[in-house]
């Protein structure tokens, strides 16, 4: 599957699309529509106190829109894991959430240093987290697998020494 807008030829790319959603996901990424509601927040390196606020904002906004608890849980878990990943593994970055009538698109972009091997990072239990992150109870190597499990589409573009972009789509 191609995503010409986001992919640079020198970077590695990973896609997971849950079966049944291929067409809707293709249409979305081909057209990249602008949402009515867009939320943005900064994520600071190694800041585990404020990391999570962006996800909480998204969760509360969806709750106000009447989205059911199971979808809320999937969005919140995928979003929080991604936010923690940026805080734990990158030099900081930001989160942008586009809320549509029937789905949410979350995009996390950071300032590097990138994922050397995305396929390896997707293996449950594989982690490059440091001691601080592990002491917090993170770093079990379950972040990306949890995001995959709770999303309808997961798209990662990264490479060693480059910024990382993680995109998540969840239908309501």
């Amino acid at each position: 599957m191609q995503d010409c807008a986001a992919v640079r030829s020198d970077m590695a790319e990973y896609w997971n699309i849950e079966s049944g959603h291929e067409e809707a996901i293709m249409t979305f990424f081909d057209n990249r529509p602008v949402a009515d509601v867009v939320l943005e927040s900064e994520i600071t390196e190694k800041d585990f106190v404020t990391s999570g606020r962006g996800s909480a904002d998204v969760k509360n906004t969806l709750k106000r829109l009447g989205i059911g608890p199971e979808i809320l849980r999937r969005v919140a878990v995928a979003s929080y894991e991604a936010e923690i990943n940026v805080a734990a593994h990158s030099n900081g970055g930001k989160m942008e959430s586009s809320i549509f009538d029937d789905m949410i698109h979350l995009r996390f972009t950071d300032r590097g240093p990138g994922i050397a091997n995305i396929e390896q990072a997707m293996v449950p239990g594989y982690s490059t987290a440091d001691d601080l992150v592990r002491e917090m109870g993170f770093g079990a190597g379950l972040g990306l697998p949890n995001i995959k499990k709770n999303s309808d589409a997961l798209h990662i573009v990264s490479d060693y020494g480059k910024p990382t972009m993680v995109e998540i789509v969840i239908f309501y």
Partner: protein
């Protein structure tokens, strides 16, 4: 299904968020783990989460996962900031001197 208030009595626990009414919280099951990502990946709403982790991110994990109550084993004692955040997120916090093993055994027995 049991009431949290019944479980608190059975474990000699203390509700350290008294503004949250334990008699109004129903428990269908439990989850025991200190790895936050494992909890987010596998815990379900309506479960009591038994842990010794007590920092602020624990509240975020419970909130994101839909967990109504955290049971702190071995008298694990969170800071006031953590308690305040839990109240804000409407998550009940309970403290007990029992170990995670004992706490889960008692909950398991009450539920089955």
């Amino acid at each position: 299904m049991i009431l949290l208030s019944e479980y608190i009595a059975a474990i000699d626990g203390v509700n350290i968020t008294p503004v949250m009414d334990a008699a109004k919280i129903e428990l269908s099951s439990g989850y025991v783990c200190d790895m936050l990502s494992d909890v987010m990946g596998s815990a379900k709403s309506g479960q009591a989460w038994i842990t010794i982790m007590k920092h602020l991110n624990v509240i975020a994990v419970a909130s994101m996962t839909g967990i109504p109550v955290i049971i702190f084993a071995k008298s694990s004692n969170p800071d006031q900031a953590v308690i305040d955040k839990a109240v804000e997120e409407e998550i009940c916090l309970v403290q007990s001197s029992k170990t995670a093993f004992e706490l889960s055994g008692i909950l398991y027995q009450m539920l089955n």
